[in-house]
Symmetry: C2
Subunit: 361 residues, 2 copies
């Protein structure tokens, strides 16, 4: 059974800083001769994690719970509770307005995992009475095709939330596509104005990105104190790591963001009361990364080939669950932890959007 997730040779990571220094030199003179600071976008590098050398040796299935001390957070049942309340409100809206919230999903290409995520979201919509509409576009479609689909939904008054399933095929400019999306329907909360309002104290974004929002709700419902606690967010993606760190900070945690260029990530992480891991690297977070009694939220959802499973693969997280349950006090499983919470928050953002647009309280 091999890992599908791309891993890179160690040597490549070592070379990146050199490459970056070269970029600095190049860009300084093109961009701005007054400053030595480079243009920000020239700094952007992929976060390539050194593969965890021993991850292959970890038991493939979760069987050895002998020394388990951690409570396993049941994201599935918490999200079911939330979805049931959403369903109540949707019924209430339908009864009083004769309308229901509408979610549009745009799926480009045929990535197996994206297809499954979209299918799950659509099923969840149906279950709570939210109307959904999926537009599927071929992998080789033009940027304008995606933008046109977005713009059509922007104008459609029966649609209150629009979601472009990421990642898009490489030839499409994610920024341009997302910028076409009406701010009022950006239920994923990825628009830079939403992100700015998430970051700035005193402001409130129209939508909080679903996964970080689900993580916080999980923490609060589990009685985890956030204020004043040390939180480490592993990974700094625009869709999870970044907004999760901003949100935890708004909740007064002392937040450190660990990424692929962090030296001794395990040392930093092992000081944290709350760990939110969203690196997308199977078994990155080993037992020795975790402080005794910490809360561990595993956002990683990496498909790994497994012929014994119905779909031919199973999902694994960033966290070595077998080791984590022996050290942490609370830990989320994969699947069944953060995933269902993300879907519930998407439904809630869509409902909130519909209420706001229809002026329904």
């Amino acid at each position: 059974m091999g890992l599908l997730a791309v891993t890179w040779p160690k040597c490549l990571k070592k070379h990146l800083p050199l490459k970056l220094r070269f970029l600095h030199t190049l860009k300084d003179h093109h961009f701005d001769q007054i400053l030595m600071s480079p243009a920000l976008a020239s700094l952007d590098l992929p976060d390539i994690w050194t593969p965890n050398s021993s991850c292959q040796s970890i038991p493939a299935l979760h069987k050895s719970f002998n020394q388990q001390t951690a409570e396993v957070l049941d994201g599935k049942s918490i999200s079911a509770e939330i979805r049931s309340k959403i369903a109540d409100e949707v019924r209430h809206m339908k009864k009083h307005l004769g309308k229901v919230p509408g979610l549009a999903v745009i799926l480009v290409g045929e990535r197996r995992d994206s297809q499954i995520y979209v299918r799950n979201k659509i099923m969840a919509c149906e279950e709570v009475g939210i109307k959904s509409s999926v537009t599927e576009l071929p992998a080789d479609c033009a940027e304008t095709d995606v933008q046109n689909a977005v713009m059509r939904f922007n104008k459609d008054p029966s649609i209150h939330g629009i979601l472009v399933q990421l990642p898009l095929p490489q030839h499409l400019n994610e920024e341009k596509v997302l910028d076409a999306l009406s701010l009022e329907k950006d239920v994923d909360g990825f628009h830079p104005l939403n992100m700015g309002n998430l970051a700035i104290r005193g402001r409130e974004p129209l939508f909080i990105p679903c996964t970080p929002k689900g993580c916080i709700e999980l923490l609060i419902r589990s009685g985890v104190k956030i204020m004043g606690k040390k939180a480490v967010v592993i990974g700094r993606s625009n869709i999870v790591g970044l907004p999760a760190s901003l949100l935890l900070q708004r909740h007064h945690a002392t937040v450190t963001v660990v990424h692929a260029f962090t030296e001794n990530p395990e040392q930093i992480t092992s000081k944290a009361d709350i760990v939110v891991s969203a690196a997308g690297v199977p078994n990155l977070v080993r037992g020795n990364w975790i402080k005794n009694g910490a809360t561990v939220i595993d956002v990683g959802t990496i498909p790994v080939e497994d012929p014994s499973c119905e779909d031919g693969y199973r999902l694994v997280g960033d966290v070595c669950f077998e080791e984590a349950v022996k050290v942490a006090s609370l830990v989320t499983p994969v699947p069944g932890g953060v995933g269902p919470m993300t879907v519930a928050m998407l439904l809630l953002n869509t409902l909130t959007s519909a209420k706001r647009m229809l002026n329904f309280t």
Copy 2:
């Protein structure tokens, strides 16, 4: 000689979490009955630092440099170098276009420190040939008065940068005033869209806030490696701490933000290779907060009464300079460190804006 900076009794800080918990309970039911997570804005609390008990015992003037090991970063001379290059470009623009960049400053009320900051900015503009215009409004003016002033400058084609000197008097809504500001002229970079684009990798804000931009330029010009290094930002204000942390992260530092609710801030800070302190608390950062050989950037600029000085006060930083120079390898003084860099970056942002608006390269 007394500290002008407001200090709060220790007991108040201890009570805040309770107050917050109460706020949670209250707001949950008003805002959203589905989630237990509160509305973000309901979480916002002032960062009240416990006053450093022994700060009074620190020598008032910087005389005891016997054991100094740190190099003192000369922000004044570095900024002079940058300003001279800006002046060259302004002359070049004037020669080729017959136009110069224009900066408008709006000053509300009669805060002594704000008046001095504005005076310094105007003098710096004159020095490099940037046209400047100051609108002074009385402390009791209406929000619409400030907004009208902003809107007038938005429309004025000879103005390329607009700056509203903060803080505004309490009765004015900072958010509404700043939102009136044209994004293309937001040389302070405080608009949420700019902040979002600063946070999101792959994006580039129109303007980077001046103080954090100046800090990074200081670090780079001093040969400090940022990538992979542990950076601690003390303070999380929207105008310094927040953008400084986002910017350091774009430069691949491993960033921790320490604030008034952080437990053991000295312990966390003493692990950092780079400390950027922007709490606004005199002598908060003592020698034992600093790792041997660290780089310490002191953004604090707190006016302290001193009858022996010309203006009747002098500026002190967050960092206990006498102690820091014995531990750090690089340290910025107050005044003469970050302050002049901030002004230089404001001039540069105004020049950049003019070049962009006039399509001049």
